[in-house]
């Protein structure tokens, strides 16, 4: 094809014929903003951000769909185009939560809260897992206008988590179609499509089936191409932007797919495809399961040496010494049972070790179980005492086999029956924790990269084998780097191909990893029919606990509960809180009492869904029971006649200031209440507050209702008009800190309800320790309400974020398998009702 020349912004640009105006501009280094465009997708022209002016062409054509023509005169930047693009962006933002962009406190908030809050549904940037990588946000903050005149029409879709690996929040979707287009490109028949029309248009599946049944293969391409936070990997969702992306190889099965390993802080986050094309496709295990195996909370961390009935944690030196003592006794009568889920180097060293020990070496295919024919053949030899020593790197040896052997050594990453009966257990670094090479079923040798840190004392197998070999006195194990082993490996056979193609059909995933059932490690895999070890169900105690009389999601993420708890209701006073546990196994979490009725025996609370415990509570329905309600806890707030009192509540704090407002007014005060939310649709309890206050002032961070800003702006306004004798603020730590800074120079006595991490709530554990003035206080028994001007906010923020990583890890483990059961439409009469 020939080349053509055109003029873009006064510059002559030479491009190959057939290129679009957008491509021509990019080649010339001219940036045109885009959302729906992606280098690996065909032009689509839906977002209208890439509009340009072309001489002689009417209107403003989209540069992504306009072919470049010889002699074309293109303008990419003009006042008119900027206005058009800003209006387009504004239209997109009218359906995409945006309050953080126009919030007057954005800079301070982002500095103070560098990580987004783990909300269920995203209602703003600060509640969005994709904040660091959002194309829309970047565009708005970069050049675009931040003046948004159109109201936000929050779609209020439920967070969709009816598949094992994705959290899908269509409240953030701008319908760029990148996800369904990449799905079609990679799989031919897409598992998702744009359904419905007009304002009901959205990405979905036929008849709203779960992705488990819509033909989705869980390659994750849609997540990786989504420009917003709509589609996220549930496991990695709240971990933030990956710090490193390294090309590597997945060795879970003999396919040995090439991957890009993403990690952060030495922790594996996910494997993504090496490119957006069908050849680079990954299976659900390679894409999603991998990081969950590596990060499993069950990982073996320390070498274990058997002493009688017990496994005693040991250092490596001691464990290696014990291991060679065991192996030396069994020379000539040992079998090595090794999973093929290892690097070529590891297998080479296992072979060397087998030779040194004059042992039998069995290499098992990746999907092998403990009934593999090779193992069955060996049983006789063990029973006859011909084989006395066993060495394995997975869950392959039955209890009988292990009991029949004199000595057994397991080098593995996860606990199993095999490890529980072994003489010695050595923890291995696996998958993304080790380098080396892998030969795939088609014979290609691929490079692996160590992209994450092994947990505890775990070491790569090659290193363990070298330590063993050297301790056994062999000279053939003198390696300090895995790269030194690689050149010695040659003529290793290609492993057999697996049955089926899990990249095309998620139900053909291999069921095991080193003999362990994968669904035991990644429970959500059971949704694809992968077998798991049956665990005896914990019997629910019926009739126990506290009945939920009423439960509503009053605004997105904010759940109102009315609970039957007569003893709490009888003694409750304003300012006190309760500790709730959704289930017997849940964490204890504190919530301020909103209302109560002693004679009727009920209490109410407002719970914001921002983590595991609150999600467990939020998933309960009216009629169900909360396992535990302890309270009333904390000191009641002294209700006195002060004169004029201002109460400010934000988010869950809106509920918390309600009983204080009512009591203070009953005590004869003039009560002014102000409630803040990031946008108008997130305000609640307006009517309730009008009934208990002399004046109610609304505030929103995007100015969509009431005062533009928050409680601090209202405080400044009110303080100019009248004298305030008392000020109480309840909300997130950031909000309380900001309002205290605002009230300090005004000299208004200020009280805040602190929210540190709390465990027992009775002053025993000290987790809720806070510094107020020069004193150390416990929020649970000395508070929760303290003098806001004396609080050490930095310490509070630090202590609150102490378990940030664990909180994120706890989230991804909760998968409701019952939600995955597909209910065919034919079960209903077809009338569209339940």
């Amino acid at each position: 094809m020939g080349s053509i020349s055109l003029t873009i912004d006064g510059r002559t640009v030479e491009v190959e014929e057939g290129k679009t105006v957008l491509q021509a501009a990019r080649e010339a280094g001219i940036t045109i903003p885009t959302i729906c465009d992606h280098k690996d997708l065909n032009p689509y022209g839906s977002c209208r951000m890439c509009v340009v002016e072309i001489d002689g062409v009417r209107g403003y054509p989209t540069s992504c769909t306009t072919p470049a023509v010889q002699g074309m005169q293109v303008t990419t930047t003009s006042e008119r185009l900027t206005t058009l693009r800003n209006r387009t962006l504004e239209l997109m933002f009218s359906g995409h939560p945006n309050s953080c962009l126009v919030c007057p406190h954005r800079e301070a908030c982002e500095k103070y809260r560098p990580k987004a809050t783990k909300a269920a549904r995203s209602t703003r940037c600060g509640f969005c897992a994709n904040r660091e990588e959002c194309d829309l946000r970047t565009m708005a903050l970069k050049g675009g206008s931040r003046d948004l005149y159109l109201p936000t029409l929050y779609a209020s879709y439920n967070l969709e988590r009816d598949d094992p690996f994705m959290d899908r929040d269509y409240n953030l979707c701008v319908l760029c179609g990148r996800c369904s287009r990449i799905c079609e490109k990679i799989h031919g028949k897409p598992a998702i499509s744009i359904i419905n029309r007009g304002k009901w248009a959205r990405i979905g599946t036929a008849f709203h089936k779960s992705h488990v049944h819509s033909g989705c293969t869980f390659c994750g391409a849609c997540i990786d191409i989504c420009p917003t936070g709509t589609l996220t990997d549930r496991f990695a969702r709240w971990q933030g932007k990956p710090e490193a992306e390294v090309p590597s190889t997945c060795i879970i099965c003999s396919e040995g797919c090439s991957v890009i390993a993403q990690s952060k802080g030495g922790q594996s986050m996910a494997n993504i495809m090496t490119g957006f094309n069908p050849e680079a496709s990954l299976c659900a295990l390679g894409r999603f399961g991998y990081a969950q195996i590596v990060n499993s909370s069950q990982r073996l961390l320390h070498p274990l040496v058997r002493e009688g009935e017990d496994h005693i944690p040991s250092d490596w030196e001691g464990a290696i010494q014990a291991a060679i003592e065991g192996l030396q006794v069994c020379v000539g009568a040992t079998a090595l049972v090794i999973s093929a889920t290892t690097t070529r180097e590891d297998r080479f060293l296992y072979t060397q070790l087998a030779e040194h020990l004059q042992a039998t070496l069995l290499i098992l295919p990746a999907e092998a179980a403990n009934d593999d024919p090779q193992i069955r053949e060996m049983v006789g030899a063990v029973q006859q005492g011909k084989i006395r020593g066993l060495l394995t790197n997975g869950d392959f040896l039955s209890a009988d086999l292990l009991r029949a052997a004199n000595f057994s050594l397991v080098i593995d990453c996860l606990p199993s029956t095999t490890t529980s009966l072994a003489s010695i257990v050595l923890p291995a670094a696996v998958l993304s924790e080790t380098g080396g090479t892998f030969r795939t079923a088609v014979g290609t040798v691929k490079q692996m990269a160590a992209s994450s840190r092994a947990p505890g004392d775990a070491r790569p197998e090659w290193q363990i084998l070298c330590d063993l070999g050297q301790a056994l006195g062999s000279a053939a194990f003198d390696f300090s780097r895995i790269e030194a082993v690689t050149p010695l490996v040659s003529d290793d056979p290609a492993p057999a191909a697996i049955d089926g193609d899990p990249r095309q059909n998620v139900r053909e995933l291999i069921p095991r990893f080193r003999g362990h059932l994968l669904a035991d490690i990644v429970p959500a895999l059971a949704a694809f029919g992968l077998p798991a070890t049956e665990v005896a169900a914990v019997e629910a105690v019926t009739g126990a606990g506290f009945a939920i009389l009423e439960k509503r999601e009053i605004v997105p993420n904010m759940h109102f509960f009315k609970i039957r708890a007569p003893q709490v209701a009888k003694f409750a006073q304003p300012g006190q809180f309760v500790i709730l546990m959704a289930r017997e196994t849940s964490e204890r979490s504190p919530f301020t009492l909103v209302d109560w009725n002693g004679p009727e025996g009920w209490i109410t609370v407002v719970i914001e869904e921002v983590g595991r415990s609150s999600r467990e509570l939020a998933s309960l329905k009216a009629g169900e029971r909360i396992a535990h309600v302890s309270g009333p806890l904390g000191l009641p707030f002294p209700i006195e006649k002060k004169g004029t009192v201002l109460l400010g509540g934000g988010c869950y704090g809106i509920g918390a200031i309600f009983p204080l407002a009512r009591a203070l007014r009953q005590a004869g005060n003039r009560v002014i209440c102000t409630i803040e939310a990031s946008s108008a649709y997130l305000l609640f309890f307006e009517e309730e507050f009008r009934a208990v206050s002399d004046q109610l002032i609304l505030a929103t961070k995007d100015g969509s209702r009431g005062v533009w800003g928050g409680v601090q702006e209202v405080l400044a306004q009110v303080a100019q008009e009248e004298t305030l004798d008392q000020f109480i603020a309840i909300g997130c730590t950031f909000m309380m800190r900001m309002v205290c800074e605002a009230s300090r120079p005004l000299g208004i006595p200020t009280f805040v309800a602190l929210n540190p991490i709390m465990v027992d709530g009775t002053g025993m554990c000290g987790a809720c320790r806070v510094s107020v003035g020069d004193q150390t206080r416990f929020a649970c028994i000395d508070g929760p309400i303290f003098d806001g001007h004396s609080v050490d906010w930095d310490e509070l923020a630090l202590r609150r974020s102490a378990y940030a990583r664990e909180e994120v890890q706890a989230l991804s483990q909760t998968v409701d398998l019952s939600a995955l059961i597909y209910k065919p439409e034919s079960d209903s009469c077809g009338c569209g009702r339940k």
């Binding site: 079609e184 031919g188 028949k189 897409p190 598992a191 998702i192 499509s193 744009i194 359904i195 419905n196 029309r197 979905g204 599946t205 036929a206 008849f207 819509s214 033909g215 065919p824 439409e825 034919s826 009469c829 077809g830 009338c831 569209g832 009702r833």
Partner: protein, 156 residues
């Protein structure tokens, strides 16, 4: 004895056979299937998708774009209420409301006993007769809430 042919509603073979496997046939095919079944069932969507070698999700996406396609079976009596400009200014809202209250269903639904289904339509082109209600293809003009209630009650 003469064997009566078994009419299987879900058997769409005869319809599918009339159409080639080109993607262009999607909408005419969906229209004919709907004419046959009165609605598009999940099974019908699947068969159409298979016939044209498309994804069910795409077929559903196309079908849900057009208001002419329905995904739940209509009732024995199908009620359509015009919501066009002329009908709107002459109170079609109240008519729709009256039908909802009489039948217990909202637009787009079919009553549990399968007797009625309700649909809102943008315009029938009979603006002179506004407000218009169409019950089982019979046009009723200059309707009131009371008159509409009566024609519904008569079909109960």
């Amino acid at each position: 004895m003469i064997q009566m042919p078994v009419q299987n509603k879900n058997n769409l073979e005869h319809i599918l056979a009339e159409y080639g496997r080109e993607r262009d046939n999607l909408i005419p095919l969906l229209q004919e299937v709907q004419e046959h079944l009165q609605y598009l069932s999940p099974e019908a969507i699947r068969l159409v998708a298979d016939h044209l070698d498309l994804s069910e999700n795409d077929v559903y996406g196309v079908a849900t774009f057009y208001t002419q396609f329905r995904f739940i079976p209509p009732g024995l009596h199908h009620v359509r209420v015009c919501q066009g400009t002329a009908c709107h200014v002459r109170g079609s809202d109240m008519i729709l409301d009256a039908i909802s209250r009489t039948t217990g269903i909202e637009p787009g639904e079919t009553s549990e006993d399968g007797k009625f289904s309700l649909e809102r339509v943008a315009c029938f082109g009979s603006c002179a007769l506004a407000p218009v209600v169409v019950l089982d293809d019979k046009v009723y003009g200059r309707m009131t809430a009371a008159k509409t209630k009566k024609i519904i009650e008569d079909k109960k």
